[in-house]
């Protein structure tokens, strides 16, 4: 399984360490809320709103350099829009990987 990294954040920050820390903190604040909302929408069967949250999480997946996970998330988002949950397990594994990674920062 691929591992998250900070390459994108470092490349776009122009070496501004203060900004890098600020952005990491924003992701650390925003990601758990999005994950929680996604799980809640899925629980109540609101796949359309769950797909909206997957869409937002997708951006963070690419920021953290998870290229393969990004592709499977795109498919999962499309499945949710079609009222299907194919790819749920793989996507939620990615969520766990990001959760674990953010705890190390």
């Amino acid at each position: 399984m691929e591992k998250p990294n900070l390459s994108y954040i470092c490349s776009m920050s122009g070496g501004n360490k203060e900004f890098e820390q600020k952005l990491i903190q924003i992701i650390k604040n925003e990601f758990p809320t999005e994950k929680k909302k996604y799980l809640n929408y899925l629980k109540v069967g609101d796949y359309k709103r769950a797909a909206e949250k997957v869409h937002k999480i997708k951006h963070k997946i690419s920021i953290l350099g998870l290229a393969k996970s990004y592709r499977l998330t795109v498919n999962y988002e499309n499945n949710l829009i079609d009222n299907k949950t194919v790819g749920q397990k793989d996507f939620e594994d990615v969520l766990q990987i990001i959760t674990d990674f953010l705890e190390t920062l």
């Binding site: 490349s11 776009m12 900004f19 600020k22 992701i27 869409h55 937002k56 951006h59 963070k60």
Partner: protein, 236 residues
């Protein structure tokens, strides 16, 4: 260029805002987590460029553009490439950036926005040369066309359906709009500093906080216009 950022994702707003710090002539005035707040802001402030997310709950980026009568230039920022064709049906959309946005691609988009802005300016300026008779402006008052020397105008104030044109010697009340007269006045001399006021920059006596003294009139300056005004001054 004065810009705003509209995106419901705080991470995305922070990234665009940081990328903007690489462009000296780009000022980010405000950031909004939804389009409704941005519309309220745009009703009172002039903006040259908007960074706009498409995927937002309830009111999408396209809903937002459709709600604007005269949209400024817009750069779309999105995680979804599926809307590219729809995006280019809008004249106001300058570019379409896929998240996460890299610095090089961002710079290209800004160059595009700048070149379009320059083209508009050149077109306006050349139009003036062809149609203007020197520095004169003719206004229709009581069925008479009265000639005003443009350089003598120091202030134009909007008052409902009328504008007050104040000159060195005389004041005129004309049935017109601030937008119409703004198009006729030379941009190198005049500046719209507030939604109700255009001033002749050469006639400023002093500037204090968010107002200018011009003759005996104290004129408010919008926060969004202050950077442009300051750029125009020959500061020591």
């Amino acid at each position: 260029m004065n810009s705003i950022i509209i995106d419901d994702e705080a991470t995305a707003r922070a990234i665009i805002s940081q990328l903007c710090t690489n462009i000296t002539e780009l000022t980010v005035l405000e950031e909004f987590p939804n389009a409704i707040q941005a519309i309220k802001y745009l009703n009172q402030n002039d903006v040259d460029l908007i960074f706009l997310d498409i995927h937002m709950p309830d009111f999408t980026g396209f809903d937002f553009i459709d709600s604007l009568k005269n949209p400024p230039k817009i750069i779309l920022t999105t995680s979804d490439s599926n809307f590219a064709i729809q995006a280019f049906e809008y004249d106001c959309i300058v570019d379409y950036l896929i998240k996460p946005v890299g610095l090089d691609r961002f710079m290209k988009a800004i160059e595009k926005a700048k070149s379009i802005k320059s083209a508009i300016k050149v077109k306006t300026a050349s139009g003036k040369v062809e149609t203007s008779s020197g520095n004169d402006l003719y206004v229709n008052i009581d069925r008479r066309l009265i000639k005003i020397d443009v350089t003598s105008i120091y202030l134009v104030e909007a008052k409902g359906d009328y504008i007050h044109v104040k000159t060195e010697n005389k004041n005129y009340t004309v049935h017109s709009s601030l937008k119409k007269i703004e198009e006729k006045l030379p941009g190198n001399l005049f500046l719209k500093v507030h939604r109700s006021y255009i001033i002749n920059v050469d006639k400023i006596i002093d500037i204090e906080d968010n107002s200018v003294l011009i003759k005996k009139d104290v004129i408010p300056v919008s926060r969004s216009k202050r950077p442009e005004l300051m750029k125009r001054l020959n500061l020591l």
